[in-house]
Amino acid sequence: MNKDIMICGVGGQGTVLASKIIAAAAMDEGNTVHSAETIGMAQRGGSVTSHVRVGEEIYSPLIPFANADIILAFEPAEAVRNLVYLKKDGMVIVNSDPTKPVTESLQNTGYDGKEMIEYLKKKCNCIVVSSEKIYEKFGSSKFFNIAILGVAVGSGRLGISEEAVKAQIEKRIPVKFLEANMEAFKMGIELSK
């Protein structure tokens, strides 16, 4: 299988765990995987990306422009920022709820993510989900990273089976939080439909 999967968002949103689960699940299904993460200063509330590259003939650790099959965006503006990576017929799964940067609160330019979602809908095949909904159900948006994995699996664009992703969630999430995460994952699959 050849698949380029990008995960983007804001430092602290849990993008790294999502990318680790995808990479490991793809490997469990016998694929060769390379990936790369943003580490360092940007993790403090800056824009972060993870690149997961599945396939035999992969050289660059980062996905080249116009190569991503799917982008999982934890934040609307970050989806637009990284749209350059998407293939023409690729898919974006995007959280409609914005993370407002401090600069935004100070200058109050009115950024609320809506314009970004409209733009994405115009430009590409996309599924819009709301982390607010996850928050309402689970009392924390910490589960969003697992929910969006569910959406990705449900969309059929990830190229990795539900079972493989589930197995990796089980392996990586502490028992205490596993049940809620599995529910978030299931909710994601339903949201994709």
């Binding site: 050289y59 660059s60 080249p64 637009v80 330019t109």
Partner: protein, 598 residues
């Protein structure tokens, strides 16, 4: 055993497989995970330490290598500046056991002060350098680096770049590996004590040896030619080689020359590779190191080859390369038209800028704010330093006037006061940075009768690089609980008359401490002690009640990411808030309270 690891993990495991005995280093992005990986894998019999700084790391490892043990030293590129004093001399003296110094370069720069090039350091020190192009190669290459080091009795540099350090791939780890058996130190003052005579003799020896290593490198499997014989060839190194291969997937006939051991330059290899070539383009990050070496060869051998790269403006000098950047450069060079394949995004809406900021609840925010409040309207200079707290420069805090290098702020605060004695000068330094290179600055200030206020932002960890322990934490990398080095006692020992410790999250107490110190002469210190929010449990969440008059003073004053505006009203982002309570102490109408404060 197949392991999916980060580049830094591959370097660590490669060193373990090579039988490394002693591993030292100082955290610095993008190198920090090397030592952390070793601590997580079986490493019985290996001494592992976060040293107090890179110079200490280099010196501890040097003694191990003198004794025939294998030693690994890790740091980021600017750390090599700190370690350069022992390294320059060590290059003359040489080693007995293999010694590999990993200095991770950071094109971009993404998390660094400089875009310096470790290959230049290798040339400056006259020691070999290895430049891996991928995670898989880093794993193999570091094992060979140890072999070369022992074969030629010299320390060697190993310089990955960020995109190799932080990429992930699978490597094959053997079930068993063990530290090397070594002979021990054999006394010989003619060999191990550096004197002018020894340096003179060894300098000549080293230059001859480097010619030999260049020949050896010419046969290395890391220097190869791919594709068919062409008049135009591409030369690439490091991760730029990976980007080039990605682009050349569809043009496999193009001649591609890869250089994995840039110094001593593999001259014979390059001479042969350039046969029949009329034009080359050199793709590398940071300095035009390979490009200049090719120009040297062309001059030396009277070749007629046109060289493109950074020196004729075809490749940018600054910033990192990417597949897309190189695709543009290569399509022009190879005269292959570019294909537009992506989505048209020329009409993209304006995106919010998202600079990194201090986390919600970060005690550094409170420390900076206390000093700002205490010094309002007075001439004061704020010297910053390297760590999370460099982010105190952002609006609205705006509390970092200078930032130069590790520990510089402590001395700079003194310098400003010598030339402008009417200014109150502050140095902000983190706990780990204080130990790494802040202490000597305090001694300098006391000895020279300087006036300054030292603010130690003690969050009990090395936060920016991923929460490594340091001498003040009471834990080390051997997993031992050790005596904490007490910062206040260190300062008192140096002779400071005024050392106060405050909780920065108590605004009034902190402001008073700053005001009191500002009224005294000499070197004064305030230790702002409160743990990093990433290593402690939040105390609760704040709430904004109906008393809020939407004046937004909290946002304007401290810029906490957990304070956001929704429909014109200030609200708390409950996902981010840690309940630190700083905002509640700023609110003019006492509209902010919370679980922990009520």
């Amino acid at each position: 055993m197949k392991e999916y690891v980060m580049g830094n993990g591959a370097i660590a495991l490669g060193a373990l497989v090579a039988g490394v005995n002693v591993v030292t280093g100082y955290p610095g992005t993008p190198s920090s995970e090397i030592i952390e990986t070793i601590s997580k894998y079986s490493h019985e019999g290996v001494h592992l330490e976060w040293s107090v700084n890179e110079k200490a790391a280099m010196e501890v490892a040097t003694a191990a290598a003198y004794s025939g043990a294998r030693a690994l030293v890790t740091m980021k590129q600017v750390g090599l500046n700190v370690a350069s004093d022992p390294l320059m001399s060590l290059a003359y003296v040489g080693v007995k056991g293999g010694m590999v110094i990993v200095s991770a370069d950071d094109p971009g720069p993404i998390s660094s002060q400089t875009e310096q090039d470790t290959r230049r350091f290798a040339e400056f020190c006259r020691i070999p350098v290895f430049d891996p192009t991928s995670v898989e190669e880093a794993y193999e290459m570091i094992q060979e680096a140890f072999e070369y080091s022992e074969k030629y009795k010299t320390p060697v540099l190993f310089r990955p770049t960020t995109r190799v350090n932080h990429a992930y791939a699978s490597i094959e780890l053997p079930e068993n590996y063990a530290p090397k058996q070594y002979e021990g130190f054999i006394k010989d003052s003619k060999k191990w004590v550096i004197f002018p005579r020894l340096s003179y003799i060894n300098h000549g020896m080293i230059e001859n040896r480097n010619v030999e290593i260049g020949e050896d490198f010419s046969k290395s499997r890391y220097n190869i030619v791919e594709g068919k014989e062409c008049k135009k060839a591409v030369v690439a190194s490091g991760v730029s080689y990976a980007y080039t291969k990605e682009y050349l997937k569809n043009f496999k006939d193009i001649k591609l020359i890869k250089v994995g051991t840039p110094y001593p330059f593999p001259e014979s290899f390059m001479l042969q590779a350039l046969e029949g070539v009329e034009e080359v383009i050199v793709l590398e990050e940071l300095s035009p190191f390979i490009e200049e070496n090719i120009l040297k060869i062309i001059g030396k051998h009277h070749l007629s080859v046109k060289v493109s790269g950074k020196l004729n403006g075809k490749v940018p000098h600054n910033g990192e390369n990417s597949t897309n950047l190189l695709a543009g450069i290569l399509s022009e060079f190879l005269e292959i038209p570019m294909q537009e394949t992506g989505i048209d995004i020329t009409d993209m809406p304006n995106l919010p800028v998202r600079p990194p900021v201090l986390c919600a609840g970060c005690p550094h925010r409170a420390s900076f704010y206390a000093v700002k409040q205490a010094m309002k309207g007075q001439k004061s200079y704020f010297c910053g330093d390297i760590g999370c707290y460099t982010l105190g420069n952002a609006m609205p805090l705006d509390m970092v006037d200078t930032c130069l290098c590790m520990g510089a702020g402590v001395n700079m605060a003194q310098g400003f006061n010598w030339v402008e004695s009417d200014a109150t000068t502050f140095a902000f330094v983190g706990d780990s940075t204080f130990f790494a290179s802040g202490i000597t600055g305090v001694v300098n200030g006391v000895y020279n009768n300087a006036n300054m206020i030292l603010c130690i932002l003690d969050n009990s960890t090395t936060a920016m690089t991923g929460h490594q322990p340091h001498p003040g934490t009471g834990r080390n990398m051997m997993g031992n609980v050790v005596d904490k080095v007490d910062i206040a006692k260190v300062l008192e020992g140096i002779g400071l008359k005024k050392v106060v410790t405050v909780n920065p999250l108590n605004l009034e107490e902190s402001v008073n401490a700053v005001k009191e110190c500002a009224s005294l002469s000499g070197v004064k210190a305030i230790i702002f002690k409160s743990p990093c929010i990433a290593i402690t449990k939040p105390t609760g969440k704040m709430d904004i009640n109906e008393k809020c008059i939407s004046c937004k003073k909290c946002i304007r004053e401290i810029g906490c990411p957990a304070l956001i505006i929704e429909d014109g009203k200030v609200v708390i982002d409950r996902n981010l808030c840690t309940g630190c309570g700083l905002c509640s102490q700023i609110c003019p109408v006492k509209a902010i309270g919370g679980a922990s404060n009520e």
